[in-house]
Amino acid sequence: MPHDPPETESPSHGAHVGHLDDFHTPLTYWQTLEIAVRELLIEKGITTGAEIAAAIDSMDRRSPADGARLIAKAWIDDRFRRKLLADGSAAMTEFGLNPAGLRLLAVENTPGIHNVIVCTLCSCYPRNLLGLPPDWYKERAYRSRLVRTPRVVLAEFGLELPAETTVRVHDSTADMRYIVIPQRPAGTTDMTEDELAGLVTRDSMIGVSRASSPRGFRE
């Protein structure tokens, strides 16, 4: 009999990650497989329903907000900025975030250099800082073309770079993750760290856009 999804499935903290109700739609083969695999893992004592619910909850809590706070800190604290560039994982730990065993490399945009990240081989992404990756990051068009024609791809995101700007494309591997430190926007000298974090978008930390301007328009 149809009823509402169990409480544990509510994406109560999904500020940036939405959900689709697939509770009453016919199961596909792969959805049926997911149920079977999950129940087998529970029966074998490898996980529990509660552990799965907790993993989903922690996924829903994850958002680009942690990455944005890290960048804002780097903008206002030059010592931290240099530490982030020298050893991203250590800077994350110092900031109270868990690098989860992965090496983080931060690359910094300057007036003359623009950085952008990709994973041509799969979809490696700093999800512990940015949340789950957007669909386009995982798909062929971005993975194939960014390394060959980055300016064209960036223009498709609405980012037109001057010809004299050097574009650096960074290709991730399974053992490390990149994050872009976008340029701090003009007109932000009086802003607090929290206000600055509000200007740092997911896409600006991937490098397909700039940080938002303080006048309020968002991507």
Partner: protein
């Protein structure tokens, strides 16, 4: 283009492709559950990221073109769990028919479940 001869399909950096579709989708509950299974199964050390990559890459280009991201993931998780001896194909077949016998929607199959 000759420079791509001999590359595996997933090694797609530098090839031609259509424009980037700058869109996102909301995650379905089942996709989140697949993601959770990946995180949990990887965290137990039952399989390595390299094992998972091999399985995903061996699925071939047709899987990449026809299956969604999380469809490929659950297929890969299932494969490595069987390879690692966590359960057998017979146990999986039995479980799949159990699940199907319970109903055709998640609500019917799993209404007493959490997860």
């Amino acid at each position: 283009m000759s420079e791509f001869v001999g590359r595996q399909w997933h090694d797609m950096g530098g090839q031609d492709a259509g424009p980037v579709v700058n869109e996102d989708h909301d995650f379905a509950f089942w996709e989140k559950r697949v993601d959770a299974l990946m995180v949990i199964a990887s965290g137990t050390g039952r399989f390595s990221v390299d094992q998972l990559r091999r399985v995903l890459e061996d699925m071939g280009e047709s899987a990449f073109e026809t299956m969604s991201y999380y469809e490929r993931w659950i297929a890969a998780i299932n494969r490595v769990l069987i390879e690692s001896g966590i359960y057998t194909t017979e146990e999986l077949a039995r479980k799949l028919s159990d699940v199907r016998a319970r109903g055709t929607t998640y609500g019917d199959c799993c209404q007493s479940e959490t997860g």
